[in-house]
Symmetry: D2
Subunit: 129 residues, 4 copies
């Protein structure tokens, strides 16, 4: 898997009254990173991400994330099953790990509305980045 | 015009690091109130609000809005033009005016994608509430 | 554990271009439900939830959630550890399960910024609801 | 006034079921642009924006904004009053004007919680960019 990362500048409205970035904003960031990664697999076709259905997310809040410093979101793993793809992601702020997450996606035949085997061409792209 | 109000419980993620409700959350609340009002005109058909296109919003932040106390959003005016509708709205927290806003909507023929005169039946509903 | 539920009316801005409620909006709803539940334990003191630090969330998207129908969020379990509390939650729309989630919270001594044992009085309240 | 612009990549969760970027997301973008502009005036001190209180926003939705193409937000005017600053902003997507907005800010003595005259040094920075 090749390296994939997205740099996000925290937005002030993403903070909450505790003075840090709110957990719901971080869940939203994971969507940004996940979709950019999926788009990167598909030659940046913005519509392509819609072949993937989000089945679950798991987010561990390791340390607080603050306004005022960029966040680097790194894809740290992409585990391919039959029709599922687990995307592992870590967020860093000034080289400090603040959040770790996993998204489970299912590859869909959007016409049939059912899951299908991830095609070999796509498996190769995921493996090589 | 009959009275129309919506009560909103501020959500913690709607606060920001200044300790009050963020301005962008308040803009989002105005959508909630506006759409509920339009739906009330249309016998609560959830799809009906889509005949209205939002042309502009104006929001005056009169005082801070805080987490922990309900907000009452009151429609204080509905000014009907040919194809436009100005909706005036005020937010109160513990009887204190905190926000005043105006939304300008245009009634659309969604098939033709052009504005059309607001029908008389709808004008009557707006006038009577 | 006594029953605890919150009814949420989906907001139009919480939908996305796929026509359903976006996953990030659902993560935000979990905060609403979690905090209301914690506040209910503490005699509805809005500040009390701040003694709890969110360690992780896990959300399974079982079926699509749509605009136009209320969502009932039910707390289905509250598992107490030494300093941790697992809150299990399910979302229903028209009696259909759409989302299942787990939040892990840690009880904090906010002055010392370290986790502390959940006091017995609070354990009793969680057990009895 | 020198040129100031921010490029924003629309996020999928910022769309709504009408298939375009939701109005509340655009109100949130205006905060991003406004705060970046104020920070640029203050040698990029992230805390500096807090000396400004948002008094009002006016947003005109000229055309739809879509997912999949960058948005360029340009500050097109900065009108200085005694203690107030009007910031004019336009959003473009592929050179098409989609949104025009105005924010009115008031310069605050945060200790006294009252508005104060914008200092000459800051007036010069606003005038020169």
């Amino acid at each position: 898997m090749k390296e994939f990362s997205v740099t996000l500048a925290p937005r002030f409205y993403e903070t909450d009254a505790l003075g840090h970035i709110n957990n719901a904003s971080i869940a939203a960031w994971f969507e940004v990173v996940r979709i950019r990664y999926l788009e990167s697999l598909m030659d940046a076709d913005p519509g392509a991400a819609r072949d993937w259905m989000l089945a679950s997310i798991q987010i561990d809040f390791v340390a607080e994330t603050f306004y005022g410093k960029d966040v680097v979101a790194k894809i740290t793993g992409a585990e391919v099953g039959n029709s599922s793809l687990n995307i592992l992601c870590e967020l860093y702020q000034e080289d400090r790990l603040t959040v770790r997450g996993k998204s489970v996606l299912v590859y869909m035949d959007t016409a049939a509305k059912s899951s299908v085997r991830i095609p070999d061409s796509l498996r190769e792209m995921i493996a090589s980045g």
